[in-house]
Symmetry: D2
């Protein structure tokens, strides 16, 4: 079952940590900590194995994967011994990373991406390729009439002016090439009616948005706790301090806003109301990938008594994100293989701002886990029927 | 449906906060924040209403409930305006609180307790009385052969030497008097084979142990989060600083041990292994009921990267516990009414160290909520069939 | 030694807490916790006693002091029993609070303020009146050529367009009326060359800016600790969550910037370099006066090892500020009495952003305390020589 | 000015970090972060340079310094690149580490230690050797009559029963050999009248006890802050979680008690009263040298308003301690050279529980820094007079 994993942003921290980890797992050099698909719930679900995955991708940057991996080792994100042991394998993956295509118009750029994907699949004899966006977060997309309809979009792509932000252009190309698309970022990705039509038309599954790795993960278990206990959350305020490439990018106010919004949704969804307070992202270069997030929750209980809780999360963002990228690729591959199509709301467990076309996706983590288990069951049945 | 709520430790902080709150709810002076039984899940389950509850109890202390309520108001635990408004009602409840019986032997003491319960039920024409233990935590019970068998216990109770710790003696008397028994404390209560036999024989439901209000509540959502994400918890260490009557009592090393043990179980049960670290309780008089609990969790993720989270919980213990006492009384009353008997593991949601006779009770809060909802469904069916 | 204390913003939280506290101290109803001038270092320095102080002020708001004090008691900022006991005295002070004068031009407004001050002094037979600004923080002042010179300013005040922000207009009027002026806020106050000239000309002492009560206070002891240990502070990031009148006002970005800047100066001054990181203020209504400030400090030590510390400050802003307002009034009164004139950099201990005309004011708290003790010694000598 | 630095516990974490750091400083491979003696205050004070120091020591363990340094690098305490670069130099130091002497009685053991010191000095042509105890913390010493008097002690050392704990035996031997002695641990060391007599008799300076690196360091700046602001500290409770050799040793209740006591003294000394609360040490192996200390301080201010602050210190103990060991050795060497004798209370800046024979040592860090600066001034004068 040779399966392609095509990473948009393949030279970034999350991508390189994912690749290094996959290589280490394949070589038996590490345990699969952090990989949800290695839990018993996924036994027998027909996921591609570590040996089945072939990795390639696009990036605008040129730094070789090995250099990036060494930088990640210096920063304490990944163990230096793994980078030392897997240099050759990293370089092999590096040879499959293509520059982001430059073209006269976006139709041509999309065609170039499709050609890269087709060439990759052909050379490796792949059954399927899952495209996962782990590129830098974009600012919110500028609305355009052509976003509403696939035919209009196709026409507009041929004009000189770009109509799609990069994440959506990659999604367009991936879906056109018959590849399921997963958006690990808060960028636009498939979130345009024209692209939903395209996925539908192509019969492809897709998933997103924005990997859930830190503060939002905690919110997704703590907010339901307050709700189940009928405690009134009065305010929930948070600050995320982070450095690294992602941090630098999020320091930009427009991008920050996109990300911050996707982080507060879990509160209103699980509590049934929106408590006071905001969630901020600040760039602190010194922290690198080792972010610190602090949240203060004020709540009141019986007879109105006011109480507080606060937490600090000292997490390594790339180390938390990377196994989820592999999980998403494996599950989406199995979903595709078993014929699932359209949005995969059962993957809400992995996302801050899950795709939820029918407004029925739960936001509490336990309920999301439950939904994920159901998906695993469906995959297992399909596998057994095979 | 006049229902008795008989509180062992009726003059303590938890008890008086519960009583004041119930009176305030009945009078429409407060909202039912913190009351789980007021969530939609419990609609139509035949719970006694606030007007149905009649409160009495035992205590070794003599301080009138009104005085205690005033002290709680001074300490910021309950609003002074409620105490001012409900003084007469508190005094009425006060008249139903009996001293802990003194007798020549424990058989006689049990008989006196039973007589108090019978008199209470008769005078108020009660359908049933739920006995809830909110007395001071006892040290672990001294083992005795008569604990193993009901007949042996009955004989031994007539000897001069006490064989049961107070919580178990109250449980013995309550069950003998046909009253369901709920243990909100970590004390022995019904946890002796002889008492299990008695409950069985009497066909009564019972529940426990140790109300889950702070650090353990948080553990019951955070530990499953680590498990679902396949993150390895390396250590989990906590310290609880608290004053108040309960704090003073828990400062005693023997009692402390009983409580601390019941607080760590959730970790091994939800993670599948016991991480390093302990949980300590320290008495800090100045904090009163407004405890501060700090926990540090170290964990490792993908490729072994080490991370940390910490939280501080600034909670008011009595304000968190009191609504649960009312919830437990109401649900146990409905359970009794609908003919349920034996241990009620579905109430694990409320307890640090839930009764779990068949070892199948979940320890994650979401799963416990699920079990509680099932119980609510069963009660609703029984109610609809009535 | 009857001494006037004239509060700009006399109906605000800080002002009313100060007044209530002064009345309680006078009546022997409270201990002088938080009052620096009650420490042994100030014995014999000729400060006005609690009985000597007579309070009046200006405010744009109309809410009576008693009402405000009741609201502060409801919010837990001040004890209800003190408000109950001192209602009459509060009402007496209330009768000395004047509306902020409305006039055709700022010269006329200044004259009206001076008239209020003169009338107050005359009616109470005051030796001197200290004017303390505790009004809402203003946005940074719009520069104007007339700020540079007293004569130009006097001329400009008579034009239709206002040239001074309110804090500076009050300072102008106070100094013109022969009253020492203390700025407890980050607003402009005396910080214009024209007003420095005026103070000089009038031979009056003045002090400011911005009372140091929370995060900056902590920075002023922690940053020197890192410096004395030769540890390199890499980043220092903070967030202040607060409600109340001050919080609402600071939510305005322009005001926020003024305040935040004055909060970071201590770092560069005590460390000798400016570490990465910012300090943010966020409005969270629910917190009221009970702010929560969280700071994360990353630092490196021997051989570059990276470490972290974080703190959370759960402080009541008005309770921390009020005794300092009284301290400043008392010390400034004694300074005036002993003939001191010009800026009082020895009061840096009290301020986030101390006046520092010759660039020699220390920013570490211990050194500031040392400077304050020297001032106390000078006052004591003057007193003994009297 | 060849100067010996003789480390008791030379194979431990603090010792090896100190040695590696000294070698790295000598080789110009690192900056002197964390070294107090590299601050401008110590310019021209005649301290031995990094090239002047020759290191040896005693240890009961056999693990080579290079292996220990590699383990410290794996644990992230020291940079691997320094260990790689300085292997040969570490091995050279290793050849100067002697096993703790075994002998028939303690007099013989002391003689063996003296012989080791003499041999070391002779072979390296040392001007003087400073003995610094960085061995594992001992339980409190068992009192013995011979501790009171030097002659009695000398006699008792020849009996079969040991009369001195190891730290005091090393101190006895060091002083007898004419070496100044510094105790970086909370162990007994010189704290016996007989040893004070010996130091006096030998005309030697000595210093201690217990390096101040984490929670106590913070207390020494925060407690004075509360005192200077006349805020009442109601409780101060702390927990220290740490692994590593020191942590394992401190897990022993007797040792823990010795350490915990020395950590609380700063509060009563700087506040003038002893607030409620304790300070605990817990062993958490996973944390290794990267301890986490959490403190909660409750305090009240104006009108009794209750407030809280809490901090978490994520520090690397050995990285904080090691530069201080070098500082102490250098300053004590210069003190000896300039003829100082007896206890050195001016080194209180470095210690949790400073020697304070005349009860005049300040406990606030700023005042201690002031005292240290005075000592530096004295050393500079001596140096200039040379
Ligand atoms: N790490 C986490 O915990 C986490 C969680 C949720 C979402 N994310 C998202 O994952 C993404 C990656 O994060 P990261 O830390 O790896 O960031 P990064 O800055 O290290 O990597 C991003 C990579 O994307 C590349 N890139 C930028 N624009 C591109 C384009 N148009 N085409 C192709 N490549 C492009 C960059 O050159 C870079 O190599 C971000 O969007 C982030 O918000 C991360
Ligand atoms: N507050 C919480 O969050 C919480 C959570 C779980 C469990 N609990 C448990 O609830 C119990 C009550 O806590 P509290 O804070 O109200 O304590 P408390 O000290 O205020 O009250 C205990 C009461 O029990 C009474 N008592 C003691 N021995 C008795 C006896 N033999 N018979 C009758 N009465 C007796 C005491 O006189 C006192 O009035 C404790 O066991 C505590 O551990 C409390
Ligand atoms: N509380 C603290 O810890 C602290 C510390 C440092 C500085 N400060 C400063 O003290 C000031 C007061 O804080 P607060 O919490 O009492 O705020 P507040 O909003 O409760 O009170 C401010 C008062 O000023 C009045 N006011 C506004 N404009 C005025 C004008 N032009 N003339 C006269 N009165 C005017 C308002 O009506 C209000 O009554 C703020 O500037 C704040 O930044 C407070
Ligand atoms: N690291 C800090 O921040 C800090 C601060 C203050 C005090 N201290 C103290 O410094 C000491 C060393 O700490 P560490 O972390 O290096 O501990 P460690 O356990 O790593 O090292 C202690 C060393 O002492 C040796 N030792 C034990 N008994 C001995 C004896 N009788 N003779 C000779 N050697 C002996 C051990 O073999 C070991 O090599 C401890 O007493 C600790 O309490 C450390
Ligand atoms: Na905290
Ligand atoms: Na914290």
């Amino acid at each position: 079952m040779p399966t392609g994993l095509w990473l948009i942003g393949a030279r970034g921290s999350v991508a390189v940590t994912s690749v290094l980890g996959m290589l280490a797992l394949r070589a038996g050099l590490t345990a699969p900590a952090g990989c949800v698909t290695e839990l018993p719930a996924f036994a027998g679900t027909g996921l591609p194995g570590w040996d089945d995955l072939v990795v390639g991708g696009h990036d605008t940057a040129a730094l070789p994967l090995l250099k990036k991996a060494e930088a990640l080792a210096d920063a304490g994100v990944v163990p230096a011994r793994l980078v030392a042991a897997l240099g050759a394998e990293l370089t092999t993956v590096d040879s499959e990373v293509r520059p982001a295509p430059q073209a006269s118009d976006q139709a041509a750029a999309a065609a170039a991406i499709q050609a890269d994907l087709a060439d990759f699949a052909r050379r490796h004899g792949l059954d399927r390729t899952i495209v996962v966006n782990v590129a830098s977060t974009e600012p919110a997309a500028v609305p355009h009439p052509a976003h509403a309809d696939l035919d209009a979009l196709r026409a507009a792509l041929r004009s000189a002016e770009p109509v799609l932000p990069p994440s959506a252009l990659y999604a367009y190309a991936a879906l056109s090439a018959g590849c399921p698309y997963v958006d690990f970022t808060p960028s636009t990705g498939t979130r345009l009616p024209a692209l939903t039509q395209l996925a539908e038309y192509q019969g492809l599954p897709y998933a997103g948005h924005d990997g859930k790795t830190g503060e939002t993960l905690l919110k997704s278990v703590l907010a339901p706790m307050f709700a189940m206990r009928n405690l009134t959350v009065r305010s929930w305020s948070g600050v995320n301090l982070l450095g690294g490439g992602d941090g630098a990018n999020l320091a930009d106010p427009a991008t920050n806003a996109a990300k911050a919004a996707s982080k507060q949704r879990v509160l209103s969804e699980t509590l049934g109301y929106r408590p006071e307070g905001d969630c901020r992202i600040e760039y602190v270069e010194d922290l690198g990938d080792f972010k610190a997030a602090w949240d203060l929750v004020t709540f009141s209980g019986f007879l109105g008594t006011k109480m507080r809780m606060e937490f600090t999360w000292h997490g390594c963002d790339s180390a938390l994100a990377a196994p989820l990228v592999l999980d998403l690729a494996r599950i989406t591959a199995a979903a595709h293989r078993s014929g699932l199509r359209g949005p995969l709301p059962e993957l809400a467990f992995f996302f801050k701002d899950p795709l939820d076309p029918r407004g029925e996706v739960p936001h509490g983590l336990a309920a999301q886990w439950h939904a994920l288990e159901s998906l695993a069951d469906r995959l297992r049945e399909a596998e057994e029927a095979r």
